[in-house]
């Protein structure tokens, strides 16, 4: 068996003394793992960094085998973010989420496409924080846990939406949600309409998507949010408190 595809490196873990087991998000074969012989050599390790875009060749005798993977670097995205703690945290968070949330070997061309767009957005400051939160919202939708942010679940109103029900994932208007505001999740404007996003809105957006990622996607698998995602939320929260996130 052999196939070739384009993909992004999501994770790589040591296997034995010289090999790596790499996980890639491919366009046509979804999240796929494979053994990279000699993957721990300095040259190979450099290209097998999370977020790097690679041309993948997978080979195995039978389809259900782990198989071996050969990766040729197409674009070294990770290296461009190493000096920027915020972007690096976002890239690591997105890759870690995909590595644990996506079912293996299930094609998700839409998620491959949205991850590629996220990496481009990370590279083209300064609007990356709202794009990251929107990417998590789209990831939920692609995996069947989409939030309904089109109208208020109570009144049907389409404007002044301010909350999301943690039970149903549906939006609630400010007026209808006021009596229950301590039980509802805050919906930042930029997630349902064109609006600027300041630090508070980014923090609220990460709390919203984080809640649904955790409770609907990861908890049923007995998992929590990955450490990288927690660190990103913590970094954005601290930047917001320090007033370091301008409205974009």
């Amino acid at each position: 068996m052999e196939w070739r595809d384009d993909g992004f490196v999501l994770a790589a873990r040591r296997h034995g003394e010289s090999a790596l087991i790499v996980e890639v998000l491919t366009r046509e074969h979804g999240r796929h793992a494979g053994l990279v012989r000699g993957g721990q050599s300095p040259r190979r390790r450099a290209l097998l960094q999370p977020g790097n875009e690679v041309a993948v060749t997978w080979r195995a005798r039978l389809a259900e085998h782990l198989g071996t993977v050969e990766c040729e670097l197409t674009r070294a995205h990770a290296a461009r973010f190493l000096d920027d703690p915020g972007r690096l945290a976002a890239l690591a968070s997105a890759a870690a989420l995909l590595a644990i949330a996506l079912p293996e070997r299930e094609p998700h061309g839409d998620i491959h496409h949205s991850f590629a767009a996220l990496v481009e957005a990370l590279d083209s400051a300064p609007r990356w924080p709202p794009r990251y939160v929107a990417w998590e919202r789209d990831l939920l939708a692609a995996l069947g846990f989409g939030l309904d942010l089109s109208r208020c679940a109570v009144t049907g109103a389409t404007d002044d939406l301010a909350y999301v029900s943690p039970r149903t994932g549906r939006a609630v208007s400010r007026e209808a949600g006021r009596p229950y505001h301590d039980k509802l999740l805050v919906l930042p404007d930029f997630l349902y309409r064109e609006a600027a996003a300041d630090g508070a809105a980014i923090a609220a957006g990460l709390a919203l998507t984080g809640y649904f990622l955790h409770h609907h996607l990861l908890l049923p698998q007995g998992r929590g949010l990955p450490e990288a995602r927690e660190r990103l939320a913590e970094r954005m929260r601290r930047r917001n408190e320090a007033g370091n996130i301008p409205a974009v």
Partner: protein, 193 residues
């Protein structure tokens, strides 16, 4: 199982050795029983009993604090943070650094579930203060630099100056053979001649 089989099985667990090479090593040891096997066994027993991690920096030594932490000739105001002992030894081979070290014992890893509490970071923060310099000599990987940024954030309130190793063209490196990430880093870190 005979003593010889046990020896072979244990040797096969060492890095770089498999069952066949472990058998060869065991035969070699037995042939040189007095000259190699007995001294090796004694050395291993001695090291197992005496070597321990330094309570200050995490280095391995027979004394606590280790020889590096006790050396009065070394600059106590400069601390170089490394991922593991092999990195410390690599820096010591250069003889270019005369400060002290701090061994983290790994890097933050989302996949392996390694968080800050699993690393020797809290002890590092207690060693820092105003007027000190912290050199982050961590790998130029996503995990290494994520760890470096995390430590830089934690070190900020201590007033210590934080720096990291330069990234770019290695000695003897040819541009044609370098990956684009290294070349980008080298361009960004260029300096005047």
């Amino acid at each position: 199982m005979s003593e010889l089989d046990t020896l072979i099985q244990l040797l096969a667990r060492l890095p770089g050795l498999g069952p066949r090479s472990a058998r060869r090593a065991a035969l070699h040891l037995i042939k040189r029983r007095e000259g190699l096997m007995m001294p090796l066994a004694a050395a291993m027993q001695g090291a197992a009993a005496a070597v321990r991690p330094c309570s200050q920096c995490g280095n391995l030594d027979t004394m606590d604090p280790c020889a590096i932490c006790r050396d009065p000739e070394r600059d106590a105001t400069v601390i170089c943070v490394v991922e593991d002992l092999a990195d410390l030894w690599a820096l010591e081979r250069t003889a270019a650094f005369r400060g002290r070290y701090h061994v983290l014992g790994g890097t933050l890893s989302a996949l392996d579930g390694v968080g800050p509490e699993d690393l020797n970071i809290s002890r590092l923060i207690t060693r820092l203060g105003p007027g000190m310099e912290l050199i982050l000599a961590l790998n130029a990987t996503v995990e290494g630099q994520t760890t470096a940024h995390y430590i830089a954030d934690r070190a900020e309130p201590t007033g210590a100056k934080v720096s990291r190793l330069a990234q770019g063209v290695p000695i003897g490196g040819e541009l044609d053979y370098l990956d684009e990430g290294t070349l980008t880093a080298a361009l960004n870190a260029r300096r005047a001649l």
